[in-house]
Symmetry: C2
């Protein structure tokens, strides 16, 4: 096991700033492309990250502290952001992600100390889960969606790279 609360927070803090500096001002063509029908554009990934800040990570941590395993988490709908079309533009969405994340890190550091890491809650699909696992997943979830953003963008140039496709692993996924 490698989890360390301070190191986890280091990543959580950086994610919205990192995505912000990468995407802010990019052409619409980069923002709206996807990997084909039923896949997400970069903008839809940001929508999903915002949903997580509102309804997933901190609410679940609060439930573990309050109810332990006695009450399962409400399911988190990973596709809800596709149904509720927001009027916000990408700059406003990046700002919202950054703001809600910053607030959630304040909450996290107030709620959780190293003594809480082995406390358990009940996941609707997995059953017993630990605080440590939930915060680790929050971190890896950030990383998996950064990976998705760059993969979606890379695939726009799949045909453009010509023979170099052989060396570019990201285009083969």
């Amino acid at each position: 096991m490698n989890f360390n609360l301070q190191e986890a927070i280091e990543v959580l803090k950086r994610t919205p700033k990192t995505i912000g500096i990468f995407l802010d001002g990019l052409s619409d063509e980069w923002m709206t492309c996807n990997e084909g029908e039923g896949t997400w554009s970069v903008i839809e990934v940001i929508d999903h990250l915002i949903e997580g800040e509102k309804y997933n990570w901190i609410p679940r941590l609060e439930m573990i502290l309050l109810d332990g395993e006695s009450r399962p988490f409400p399911p988190f709908d990973r596709y809800s952001h596709l149904n509720e079309k927001s009027e916000k533009n990408i700059e406003q969405k990046l700002l919202e992600f950054n703001t809600t994340r910053t607030e959630n890190i304040v909450k996290l550091t107030k709620l959780i100390t190293p003594d809480h890491l082995e406390l358990t809650g009940s996941h609707p699909a997995f059953g017993k889960v630990k605080v440590r696992e939930l915060i680790s997943t929050w971190v890896v979830h950030d990383l998996t969606h950064i990976s998705q953003i760059v993969r979606v963008m890379a695939k726009r140039y799949k045909l453009d790279v010509g023979p170099w496709i052989e060396y570019l692993g990201v285009l083969k996924r």
Copy 2:
């Protein structure tokens, strides 16, 4: 084909700033972990990106403009950075990557106009390649290594996420 010179430059400009804001100040444990023997740490990825700025992209573009297909590019050793251990710390390396990239974008915009995109050079393994393909590859190469950085970091928590591993695609690669 989706390549557009201005859109490509948008990404090339952002990569070092994005990686910089993500990595600056992170704990050593995030910087030095890798995916197992023979794989690269985050620091080694930055070393490789710097090598590309010095010896790969712009030198090859200059060769195409100067020699066309008459002289093949010297091979680019993708592992050379593993042999030459630098004394620089990560902050200095991030700064070097940012500085060389900024200089190279100035060179790129001076060297290449849309009229040059179909010019051809000779790649030591692939044979005939186009300016358009080389610049597209530069962009996708950035994206593939951002993807690698977050994947290497995510795998540190592979065991820590517990049952959530099922939902986290980045841990399965």
